[in-house]
């Protein structure tokens, strides 16, 4: 009889621990052995011993936190290539969240669990698409785990941005977006829509963009926003971290249209309270329908929810006979909270 995943996967203060492999997935504190799903700061933390991740995730981690803090030893693992850690067979498949983002598949004595990390199902020109893996336990996020979250298509949102740019040709459009993933996806989507003008970047976004380009994602003409004169920013697109768009940093811009690209923008008061004039519902997470569809697709009889609105998702899958369990891992989703709170 195959062991139940609860007998070999457990939650410890450091994070989700795989006992027969003696490693953690996305640990929240420094540990000896870590498998990291993606390079965002809430999942990839500094100071681990050995780190296993996709080559792109390791590169982005080094770029973000510095060579010496991204793990004492690093091991890159390509898509689908299986290795054995301790008694556990481990392989990675794309999660579609940001460049390099992976699901971690683990198999021990015939029992298979998949930790999806953060994921989305929409096509993204800057990263590989999510690959569903049938499993016994699917460990999912639930960032947008309420039925009010239904992301419109990227094309629809980019059209709204372009319409605003043509309606206000004198005004700078400053868009708040996370430095890894959302920023480069927005640039790529704009390029696809024919926006070939220079795109100006807040200082915090420059290094991740350089790393994306080095990893083979072309982004076109990018320039620093901080040294650009006001005249050249008229009618331009400026990208900045969400915390900077209503901060002092944005005061230099010419009569800016303040925009924010996030799944949270679906709720009007969320956008309104952030002083956002042009909310763009562009998310790197699965929406409600996609969370549910993904769970059905991988066919797991049991679903563990790491973070987000877990009660609603567990309630919904329960009605389909799937056992849901909240892991209550405190510390994930902090990048999203940056959008939720007013001032960080």
């Amino acid at each position: 009889m195959t062991p139940h995943p609860e007998s070999w996967l457990c939650v410890r203060p450091e994070g989700l621990f795989c006992r027969p492999g003696a490693f953690y997935v996305d640990p929240l504190r420094p540990v000896e052995r870590a498998v990291v799903t993606h390079a965002h700061s809430d999942h990839a933390r500094p100071g681990h011993g050995a780190v296993l991740a996709s080559p792109e995730t390791l590169a982005l981690m080094r770029a973000r936190m510095g060579e010496d803090r991204a793990g004492e030893s690093q091991q890159a693992l390509g898509w689908g290539a299986a290795i054995t850690i301790g008694e556990v067979r481990v392989w990675l498949q794309p999660a579609g969240h940001v460049l390099g983002s992976a699901q971690v598949a683990m198999e021990w004595r015939g029992s298979r669990a998949v930790v999806s990390g953060d994921y989305k199902r929409r096509p993204d020109p800057t990263c590989a698409a999510f690959v569903p893996i049938p499993c016994d336990v699917f460990v999912t996020e639930a960032t947008f785990g309420l039925p009010v979250f239904c992301h419109p298509s990227d094309a629809h949102e980019i059209d709204r941005l372009l319409a605003s740019l043509s309606l206000f040709p004198e005004r700078t459009h400053v868009i708040g977006c996370y430095s890894i993933g959302k920023c480069q996806r927005l640039i790529a989507l704009l390029r696809r829509a024919g926006w070939n003008a220079p795109i100006f970047l807040h200082g915090a976004l420059a290094a991740p963009c350089r790393e994306y380009e080095r990893l083979g994602v072309p982004l076109g003409d990018l320039r620093p926003a901080t040294v650009a004169d006001g005249e050249s920013l008229k009618g331009a697109v400026v990208l900045a971290p969400p915390s900077a768009i209503t901060e002092r940093w944005a005061r230099r811009l010419a009569d800016p249209v303040v925009s924010l690209a996030s799944g949270w923008m679906r709720v009007r008061q969320r956008a309104k309270s952030r002083g956002v004039e042009l909310p763009l519902v562009i998310s790197d997470h699965a929406d409600w329908q996609e969370l549910n569809d993904t769970i059905d697709e991988v066919g797991a009889p049991e679903v563990w929810v790491t973070h987000g609105n877990e009660e609603a998702l567990i309630h919904a899958v329960g009605q389909r006979g799937i056992v849901g369990r909240a892991l209550r891992l405190v510390g994930y989703g902090e990048e999203q909270d940056d959008v939720a709170t007013t001032d960080r």
Partner: protein, 535 residues
């Protein structure tokens, strides 16, 4: 409906006044009749549907969604219409209904048919249109644009041929979908004739009298009245009905039924709405109690009785008195009052004076609870809408001041959204255990220069001690000199006192916080003199 939904969404998020006017103008210029007329009615708050109510939406949501998920979603979103719109399953793809189709069906359809009709609309619409639809039904549009902005947009549409005030004068005689109004705006028809409808007349406004204006003032040519601290209203009674309008053309009739009841005459009068008990005017805080209620209960009517202190007459019957000089209108007002003698109304007395020095003394003596200062009106001035220069002056008494300590700061709105520009300030008092404590007495955000704002913003960021959402608590070390018009007792404030029009007079960086004023000092300023005594 798509264009209207888009307009609503844009108006909600657009902070700038001019940008809002541009959005409204574009909507009115590009949408056909009668859709745009119903859109105008929705924006100006002129639409309401008796049969369609929030309960209908709850029932629809209950039929189409999981109740547990609905509950959590509603908790999260915090708005019924938006929650239902966002989680409505499926939707889009088909053609959403036109604005006119929606409005006409909501008016005409039998109540029992409505759930089916609304559900079919929601099925055909995307989330943005669904929000607009449900907000129309629940009457909670909160468009973020005033009725006045819509009229300015219409005036701009007429390319300057028609002033916003001209639209205002016919507005209350019109009904949705305003085909005649649009024909007039677009030069295809005559100005609509309101006939006997009780329409609003744009009021004549006064300029503040500054010290520099005083020297050139020929006081002998002016009449003086008290400036009452209430709200300005226009009472309109015609064959077609009775209305009480605020200065901004809002119909506030329903909130003051006792006044409406007393308007047994034909004419248009200008006056100050006040809470008056036994001939004595109550502080503004009492009137505020009434203003907070759309329809007052019996207790409210008894405890906060409203009255109107009249100071001008615009129409006597159908006779337009506005071209007459002030003195003649005043005479007509007194004759009219002697003849009609309406309940709940009295005349605002003229204040006798001989010379400017005399007036200054009177103004300074005006410390009664409900008097803000003096009004000076030229004896020969006709009643001119708007704010003509040199005819009417408002001469507020000098403000009182206190030195208070900044306690909390909050971000501003619009252009000031990146600045901590709203400050809660406090005064010292004994905490009951022999220690001094600060108690908040008010909030101010105006009166400072851009440079001072930049200084305060930086100061707040560098002296934050705690954060509560958008609010920062700061080190209690910065003193502001706060100017205010009056202090009134209030049970709703922790300090027991409320300030009228507090604003920042000066930054007192030179003053240690411990030397700021005490609450006792402010309490000595509380106006207790009955208003009548000032006369």
């Amino acid at each position: 409906m798509i264009a209207f939904a888009d307009l609503l969404e844009r108006l909600l998020f657009t902070p700038g006044r001019n940008a809002k006017i541009a959005l409204l103008r574009r909507y009115f210029s590009t949408q056909p009749d009668p859709d745009r007329g119903y859109g105008l009615a929705a924006v100006t708050g002129e639409l309401s549907f008796a049969a369609a109510k929030p309960g209908l939406i709850r029932d629809l949501a209950a039929a189409r969604t999981d109740p547990v998920l609905f509950g959590w979603s509603y908790d999260y979103v915090g708005d019924l219409a938006e929650t239902v719109a966002l989680m409505w399953p499926g939707g889009g793809g088909a053609t959403p209904p036109a604005m006119s189709e929606v409005v006409e069906a909501l008016h005409a359809a039998p109540k029992s048919d409505l759930p089916g009709i609304v559900a079919a609309w929601l099925d055909a619409s995307d989330a943005s249109v669904r929000i607009a639809l449900l907000k129309l039904i629940t009457g909670g549009l909160r468009v973020g644009a005033s009725a006045r902005l819509a009229k300015i947009a219409l005036s701009e549409m007429a390319e300057g041929r028609i002033a916003p005030d001209e639209i205002e004068e016919v507005w209350h005689g019109l009904t949705p979908p305003y085909a005649a109004l649009f024909a007039w705006i677009e030069g295809r028809g005559d100005k609509p004739d309101p006939e006997d409808a009780p329409v609003f007349r744009p009021p004549m406004l006064a300029h503040p009298l500054e010290a520099s204006d005083l020297a050139g003032l020929d006081v002998a040519a002016f009449r003086a009245e008290w400036k009452w601290d209430g709200i300005r209203v226009q009472l309109v009674a015609t064959k077609g009905g009775r209305r009480i309008y605020s200065r901004g053309a809002d119909d506030v009739s329903a909130a003051f039924p006792e006044i409406l009841d007393a308007m047994k005459f034909e004419g248009v009068l200008d006056g100050e709405l006040l809470v008056i008990r036994d001939g004595v005017v109550a502080p503004f805080a009492d009137l505020q109690q009434r203003l907070n209620r759309k329809t007052p209960g019996a207790g409210m009517l008894k405890d906060f009785p409203a009255g109107v202190r009249l100071y001008d007459i615009l129409f006597d019957g159908a006779e337009d008195l506005r071209p007459l000089p002030f003195d003649e209108r005043r005479l007509r007002l007194e004759q009219w009052y002697a003849r009609v003698h309406p309940a709940r109304m009295d005349l605002s007395d003229l204040v006798a004076f001989d010379a400017l020095t005399d007036l200054s003394t009177i103004r300074e003596g005006a410390r009664a609870a409900a008097i803000e200062g003096l009004m000076l009106k030229r004896a020969d001035s006709p009643y001119v809408p708007g704010r003509p220069k040199g005819l009417w002056w408002k001469w507020k008494r000098d403000p009182l001041t206190i030195d208070a300590v900044v306690m909390y700061a909050q971000r501003g709105h619009g252009k000031r959204s990146s600045y901590y520009s709203d400050y809660t300030f406090g005064l010292w008092r004994d905490d009951g255990a022999g220690n001094e404590e600060l108690v908040p007495v008010g909030k101010a955000y105006s009166g400072i220069t851009d440079q001072e704002l930049a200084f305060l913003d930086r100061w707040v960021r560098n002296h934050t001690t705690a954060r509560f959402g958008p609010v920062r608590e700061v080190e209690k070390s910065l003193v502001l000199e706060i100017a205010f018009d009056a202090a009134q007792l209030s049970t709703r404030h922790k300090s027991g006192v409320a300030l009228r029009f507090p604003r920042i007079a000066r930054l007192r960086t030179d003053k240690p916080a411990a030397e700021a004023d005490r609450l006792d000092t402010l309490l000595r300023h509380v106006a207790t003199t009955p208003a009548e005594a000032a006369q």
